[in-house]
Homo-oligomer: 316 residues x 2
Amino acid sequence: MTDTDELLSIRAAELYYEENKTQDEIGTVLRLTRWKVGRLLAQAKASGFIRIEIVHPRARRLSVERRLREATGLTDAIVVSSAGVSGDEELQSRTAQAAADYLTGLRPVPRTLGISWGRTLHEVSLHLKQGWANGVNVVQINGGVSLNRRAGTAAATAVTMAHKASGAATLLPSPAILERLETKRAIEADRSVGAVLKLGASASAYLFSAGQADQNSALVDSGYLTEEQVAELVRKGAVGDIVGRYIDSNGNIVDPELDERTVGIPLEQLRNAKTAIAVIAGSSKHAIARAVVGSGLCTVLVTDEDTALAILGEHA
Amino acid sequence: MTDTDELLSIRAAELYYEENKTQDEIGTVLRLTRWKVGRLLAQAKASGFIRIEIVHPRARRLSVERRLREATGLTDAIVVSSAGVSGDEELQSRTAQAAADYLTGLRPVPRTLGISWGRTLHEVSLHLKQGWANGVNVVQINGGVSLNRRAGTAAATAVTMAHKASGAATLLPSPAILERLETKRAIEADRSVGAVLKLGASASAYLFSAGQADQNSALVDSGYLTEEQVAELVRKGAVGDIVGRYIDSNGNIVDPELDERTVGIPLEQLRNAKTAIAVIAGSSKHAIARAVVGSGLCTVLVTDEDTALAILGEHA
DNA sequence: ACCGTGCCTGCTCAGATGAGCAAGATTGCC
DNA sequence: GGCAATCTTGCTCATCTGAGCAGGCACGGT
């Protein structure tokens, strides 16, 4: 009997959603009252037989966002749909777009915005519209990418963001990681660097991404770390890095000595920030995303559906 | 402006379909009148941003069925959905189930049902419910599968179908293809075979599947043809076989000499039949399905969504 | 500037739909 | 078999939604 009902609900759903007939008409066809049809339809929906997807690059998953907020205590969560997406690349692009949208709508508008650098953030900067805000000053909060062959990407990110918001960009003129602790102390003590760090510490909002801990890390790519060093970090439990600092799945610094030599605001600053927006997308970043959210490193997460589900533990 | 509207329609769709808010509530949230929301939603649907799928093994694609009927002049078309299907196997199983359903609902109930044999039809027989009809006699219409290691499948198919309909099965006691024309003539002349063929010719409905023309063909598997012979047939334009007879994409016999040695009712009998139900599923059978439908070998087609779209030329 | 054309907006109204309710059917239990 | 608990059915009513229409607005030609 239940079996018959299930089959009927499928027939009804076909007529309702594919042929868009009215429930009354369906009732006539299937020899049922229109109320029965309504109930069958409701049953089909409840059983999950009806799948409704919004296929659009800007589509979000509100229900996942809500669950994420509830489960993690995030102030806000933006989850872009991965319906109809081919690869990680498009996922990251969609997420960057969503981050740009979020930033544009952010209230109160931050006077000073602290940002990290990387592929993701650069893409965010490109997606921002001219005039997305008026008078936002952008400060880099961790050491730069100067060793990179694509030198200037980090600077371009900050400059673009500031320019499009009629604000000024303040760059952090320092490597990301220094080889000797003394050098790091010295450079931090220097006025030009110290002042920027102090400005960064006073930012009204932060925007940063995360890197996975493997040989594809931007820090390896930029020459600050070797593949072996990253492998060693992974052995010690590292799942990725935030503003140049490697953390484990609990959000703790993996290698305090290395961390000491890393130039940028400390993680505590992010944890205490009123607004810390993390933008993390792609299947390789599920672990670091979970660590960031789980350890309270951000108040807002912008991510893709799969990563969000991974954080919720529904997609392992 | 249109860009803004598109984005709004996506936001509206999210709230409507994911959060199932009323259009009025959405209007409040997005600061729009409820009519505007209604129009945005309509626009989103029209643009194809809203995809509704019925995910269920028994789900059909009524719109495709309709288009197929209109494009080909088929009396009836049954197209099972391939939403959420992993492989060809499940597709074939679903299609077999649908064929069993169709057969069960077929009116007028055929007194005599002529069937071929094969994996697909056997699966159909298994999906039929006890008592699917009352008093249907089942006749084999083409030569058997006796050389097969799983000898008896063909017989079992007919017997099962007949038994479940409280009818009798009549088997065709003959190989599918004979090596010498004389032998074929002789066996046909034999009372035991001739009578069955005559019965088959008078069937009130036919149910058959199709085989693709490659080394996986059931005829190769059963030992009636060698892989080389099939390769030669393909060179001559064969796309597959129906009741043991190889046809090209126009529905014409590929090798008349071979065909002469094949035991079973001629294709003309199917072409002239009032009810000829073809059950064809799987990505490897797109070509033969197109040939069967295109050359009027069946009046009813039961198939999967991808094959149907291939026939319609919408899925190349 | 003026006017016409055509799109967009907000509305009325009727049809479609879901919530809730009471009567009837079914099941399980003694 | 009798009875109670539960589920199902058909209904009323309030709400939601889409069709169609009149007025308003923007745009382009003269």
